[in-house]
Symmetry: D2
Subunit: 261 residues, 4 copies
């Protein structure tokens, strides 16, 4: 069965700025979606900020295996309700790919618990992503490095937790470095942050970048049934303890009662 994937884009730059529209006439999401569709195992749809519930109502999220997230200038317009729904689905097992300026999205900050800040420069300089772990599934089909002739510089320190794995580290012409491909797990959900993708350069048209995105969809996909009650903290009644025990001492709760939250 195909991996049900949704590419989410705030879709603002492409409408407001001619330079961006020239590169992504149908929006960044459509270029990414077309790249993913080259893989018959990936079933691709898109969603944008301006749709009702930002295109991500509960029932759609429940039917999504992997979500890609591109946002930049409209992070603040994403409703907290949507962020809550997406976070809960990640905890239940939905994969999440956070792209480029999505480092400052509400959903990424929510899942990381850190500021997710970094240094940046928009000079159209050369970026070279080095594969740190060439045996990682996300790095398959690539050479030792990916070269981007023009990129926005993202520089360290990048304020995220130490990752599960460091997949890529970038070299920039102007002298900086950046951990440009990082994996995390939050609950049952696999998360990959991938930094290339500035709106004024044709980065998502690069074949190697498209390969990374397809690989990452496969990597992030968790085929296990959704962990639907991942946020619950159930009481284990005394008579259901794995080992026989007897109640001793005071208790403020009644057996089987819900705990405080």
């Amino acid at each position: 069965m195909a991996i049900r994937t949704v590419v989410w884009n705030e879709f603002v730059h492409e409408r407001e700025e001619a330079e961006v529209r020239a590169i992504y006439p149908d929006g960044i999401h459509e270029t990414i979606a077309a790249a993913l569709r080259q893989d018959p195992e990936i079933d691709v749809a898109t969603a944008t900020l301006d749709a009702p519930e930002h295109g991500l109502p509960q029932e759609r999220l429940d039917a999504t295996d992997v979500l890609l997230w591109w946002g930049h200038k409209a992070h603040g317009q994403v409703s907290d309700e949507t962020v809550n729904r997406v976070a809960e689905r990640v905890h239940q097992g939905m994969g999440l790919l956070v792209l480029h300026s999505g480092h400052f999205s509400k959903i990424f900050k929510r899942l990381m618990g850190t500021p997710c800040s970094l240094r940046w420069r928009e000079a159209g300089e050369r970026e070279r992503l080095w594969t740190i772990n060439r045996s990682h599934p996300i790095a398959q089909g690539l050479g030792p490095s990916i070269e981007l002739p023009q990129a926005e510089m993202y520089g360290e320190p990048f304020l995220v937790p130490d990752p599960l794995e460091t997949v890529f580290i970038s070299w920039f012409e102007g002298g900086e470095v950046f951990r440009s491909g990082l994996t995390y797990r939050r609950g049952a959900g696999n998360i990959f942050y991938f930094s290339p993708g500035h709106e004024t350069y044709p980065i998502y048209h690069e074949p190697a970048v498209q390969t990374v995105l397809r690989n990452a969809v496969h990597w992030a996909y968790n085929p296990v049934p959704a962990w639907s009650d991942v946020s619950n903290a159930p009481n284990v009644p005394v008579d259901k303890a794995p080992e026989p025990i007897e109640q001793r001492g005071a208790s403020l709760h009644k057996d089987g009662e819900a705990g405080f939250r």
Copy 2:
């Protein structure tokens, strides 16, 4: 110079329930504060939910090196403003010790990015905390294990990210296990979660538990100056790049302009 420490407690159970008041007549915070005061290098104050700004206004947080957090039934009454201030101070370098039912506090869930859910049972059963890493600073002065004659069971799965270090794992009489001492770093701040501490048992009177808390204050203390702009994402102008480069291609930003958030 002493480590400026604040013990925060919601201070509700002790006022409402006679069983709890019998064990902690002045509140859990005062028992913990007294334990910390045995260490002359720790300077101890307390704060409670009912104080203005929950006793944690900005200027007080700015003068706090390590914060301890005990909450249970009133998590929802902690204002989001206070949670934001505390999270920012942790990112800047303030240490945080989250205790027992604080696993479901807003601040812990914020910093972890996961549900922080678990299983539980209030049967007054025996708990034995095994020291996984006996060379860790938090484990100094302890034997191979700590035995609590009566404890609330907290059982796995505990929905937190994989920790920096696993310091303690608990065995429960009723048959469960729990990762009862875990370390994390978020920004410049060191975080320790320590699960013992149910309000109906005299756990904070236990000498070994008090030793852990004193050790953990020392461990969490980051003597480095506060990283006051940890959340900022500054632009690096093209003419300030470490290597000489020239602007190429389109840019939506002006040099030195603030980025989008």
Copy 3:
């Protein structure tokens, strides 16, 4: 294509001791192999200590995707040459499952870099393995815990590096805990340590234990081509640098020369 798997067993206890032979008449390796063969995607063979090169000559290792290792009283009889070959293949991408008393095998200590010591007791007590991460591929098809009516106690501290992931933690009737399922990556190779499997109890006949082993073979399998030169440290000649540079200053090496080892 099937995952080419070899189950290695020192095969000494089963020949020397009637109690063990009664449980594993053809050797522990044959019981494990039969369990793996229930999965048509796993192609299973076996090897034992007494074969030439312990049944693991280079060409066989080169054709092996996942190796399982059971050893106990004859760790010292495994030749260093074989250990070197196996370690190199793990670095190149062969998966490795280390079972029970294999914690003290030369190959596991080699790959961990730590003593791999633990506490133990052979009392036939009850063990309950709790699934810490129920969304992990290794935990699929299991309930919240696996109960073994009789097991050898392995207790913390277990002197291994902090793992990539903690999949299982065990509870023991006699009062101890143990991290009984841990994942690691070393080079391109995935490693899983799984502690159940004492020779005097029929543990490898347990359906849930067999499920874990089959899952772990799939998890450890890295379908990427072998990283055959993983141990090489090639010189990058100055004229092959990704960015044009000129040689400056003294050099003890000639261009393209091999480095010191």
Copy 4:
């Protein structure tokens, strides 16, 4: 009490090659030792390959808190006995700083369990080490980066396990990146790998590099008493189990007997 530190150097290049002797007339170890002696809390001695037992007999190691290791062309001349002794002391709690070409030393490979291979080029190019975690004790007193006008390029992939923390990442003029400051824990011992330090450049004369080394000695120092039996796997007799249990089923061991190794 001062931190008892030993700087170990193979001390071969400085004797054989005039270019190296010009930079380090008394040997690299003496330059490093002089840098450490600027800190009154560090007590510094040196040891070299040509001394009996390479200057590291058991009783000296037992009296050493932190060991620094510089080796390059004579890795193979270090005896396995010495490597064993050093590894055991690290497991017991001795800190270890592995410098530059020490990535291929027997002791580092032993403690990592991986090939520790990398790419390299000796072109005297510029290296810039970026501080990834500026709140880390090892990074105190530094700015956002350290610039080395001439360095040997070490490039990714660097075949080591995912570290506890990534402290520095290097940018190279020729286009590569490298994780140049990594922390690990093995048993009770703290390990820091720091890549700058090529013998033909005056890198250990750089004040910022000297600051890193002094910081790292403090960080690696574990004041806890040595874990002298860290490699032992003691039996816990049935009648000493924390919870009362009775022996059930077959046992191949007698109570209190040593296990197999």
